[in-house]
């Protein structure tokens, strides 16, 4: 399958400010790709550039092989965008909002009512379909905005801070919907967020951004390995007397071993060494209770990169 998004040295300046500064990345079909960064990192500007509503100052982008600058209308026909604020017509009903955007996205008039009903039902808004949006809670508005972005079944979905301003329950609901779209429908999604937990849970790969630049790009595993080539594994034993470590240092790939009561912490060159460590301990008759390789979270990666400011 062909690459969905291909971005090369993309730039956008506003006066002296470089909102997007030489970004290069690709997004593959079915992937959930995260644009991660603090406010002002250039996430929203990137979404606007990729949808052709803002022209770049330099570089190039291709979405479905189309140039957003000259073929923006065709690009937007294939994309759905959930903006940072729901941007709904509050004086109109939920049904009117969906019907309006459905018409603009080219859904035939004969199919429109059915499609609107489907979306209202999927997003559990059928009971309030004919109520004005101004009477909705924030979570309901966000669900309706998501329905609007999906009404024309776009193969590519952009989500700009999808849970911004929502309470934990509503945020969990919206995240669940996004996860369903990705897993069940194989939807390609670009998620712009500064919510690290959300990104870790939903994204296959992330681009960590700061001041318009990509600091690092890859999956959580790839980024962990890039930042911390060596890793630690903690081994808990049944009792302190079992915490034997004799012979582990001589094992190829083991860098150092530390004792701490009934716990043994072993630094290894890579995760592939861990099974050998366990095998050796079992051979030594050690009563292994638990093996816990230390995982790095996206938060660890993010803050390490943001502090360093380099990839």
């Amino acid at each position: 399958m062909t690459t969905i998004i291909e971005v090369t040295q993309l730039e956008r300046t506003f006066g002296e400010n470089r909102a997007v500064d030489g970004m290069t990345f690709t997004v593959e079909p079915g992937e959930v790709f995260g644009l991660l960064g603090p406010n002002g990192a250039g996430k929203t500007t990137t979404v606007r550039l990729l949808n052709g509503i803002l022209p770049p100052s330099g570089g190039s982008a291709r979405v479905f092989g189309l140039d957003p600058v000259t073929e923006g209308d065709q690009v937007r026909q294939r994309t759905g965008v959930l903006t940072e604020t729901p941007a709904l017509y509050e004086r109109l009903t939920a049904r009117d909002n969906l019907a309006f955007f459905g018409t603009l996205t080219g859904i035939p008039a004969a199919d429109l009512p059915r499609r609107v009903d489907e979306m209202l039902e999927f997003f559990e808004l059928s009971a309030r379909a004919d109520d004005k949006v101004e009477t909705f809670s924030k979570g309901m508005k966000q669900r309706l905005a998501l329905a609007r972005a999906l009404i024309h079944k776009p193969p590519l979905l952009f989500l700009d801070e999808p849970t911004s301003g929502l309470d934990p329950e509503a945020a969990q609901h919206v995240n669940g919907l996004i996860a369903d779209l990705s897993h069940q429908n194989g939807q390609t999604i670009v998620l712009a967020t500064h919510n690290l937990l959300e990104a870790q849970r939903l994204c296959d790969r992330v681009a960590i951004m700061n001041r318009g630049r990509i600091l690092a790009l890859g999956s959580l595993d790839e980024l962990s390995r890039k930042l911390w080539p060596v890793t630690w594994v903690d081994v808990d034993f049944y009792s302190p007397g079992n915490a034997a470590s004799g012979g582990l240092e001589s094992l190829r790939g083991v860098i150092q071993v530390e004792h701490n009561g009934s716990r043994l912490s072993v630094q290894v060159e890579s995760r592939e060494i861990i099974p050998q460590v366990i095998r050796r301990l079992v051979e030594m008759d050690a009563s292994v209770l638990r093996v816990n390789p230390r995982d790095y979270t996206l938060e660890d990666i993010y803050f390490t990169l943001q502090k360093a400011g380099v990839s």
């Binding site: 949808n51 803002l54 209308d73 004086r91 609007r148």
Partner: protein, 274 residues
Amino acid sequence: MNWRSIWAIARKDLKEVRQNKAAWMPAVIVPVIFAVVMPLAFILLPQMIPVEDIERELGDMQQMIELLPPQLASVFAGLGLEQAFVLYMAGFMLAPLFLIMPLMFASIVGAESFVGERERKTMEALLYTPASDTELFLGKVLAAVVPAIGISWLTYVVYIVVVNAAGFNLMGGIWFPLPTWWPLMFWVTPAFALLGISATVLVSSRTRTFMEAYQLSGSLVVLVLAIVIGQVTGVIALSILTGMLIGAVLWVVGGVLLYFSIRMFKRSQLVAKL
């Protein structure tokens, strides 16, 4: 050009305006004043106050009739003083004031639909749709022009009914509209609506608030005032020919403004202001 999208945008904007009391209240109040209150006052007044007072007042009006071109002044020949007063006020003096309506409604709806969307933060979602820049623009223009012309025409109809009903006895039958009103209604009014919306859209894409856009485009009312003053002082008279000429100039100016507005309308400019 996708006309379905254009109509959808226009319909949506009209629905929104309908829900916004602050936007449509002037659309009710002003026509009622123009089409009911003012003609009733001018027609019933001479039938209610003493004849000697009327004669004193109409002495000044006689001078104004003399300022009219001969072909218009001839309409007054053989009329009584009360009849002349009614004909002059309801048939001539109020005519240019009606041009405020298409201008005002086009400005209100135009400013509301462009800047209002930005103020309510709904513009971005609209810009992410596949509708082209021209379709977006024409949808917004249509949303402003259609009610501006529609309400103006409706007001004319009410005015015709009120003027004829209230002046039936005094004038001895149905006498209105005068021939000079036809170009005013069907030629100058749509031209004013076009001019109003073209100017508003041009201003709206460069301002940040609804009030700023409305006030700037509202300054076009000066044109109407110029016609009113011109008519009172005898510099111009809204004869059929004058109406056609004024309308032609407005169509050209409005058309040129609209053309440049379409050319200059870029969603990227709107995005930069979000």
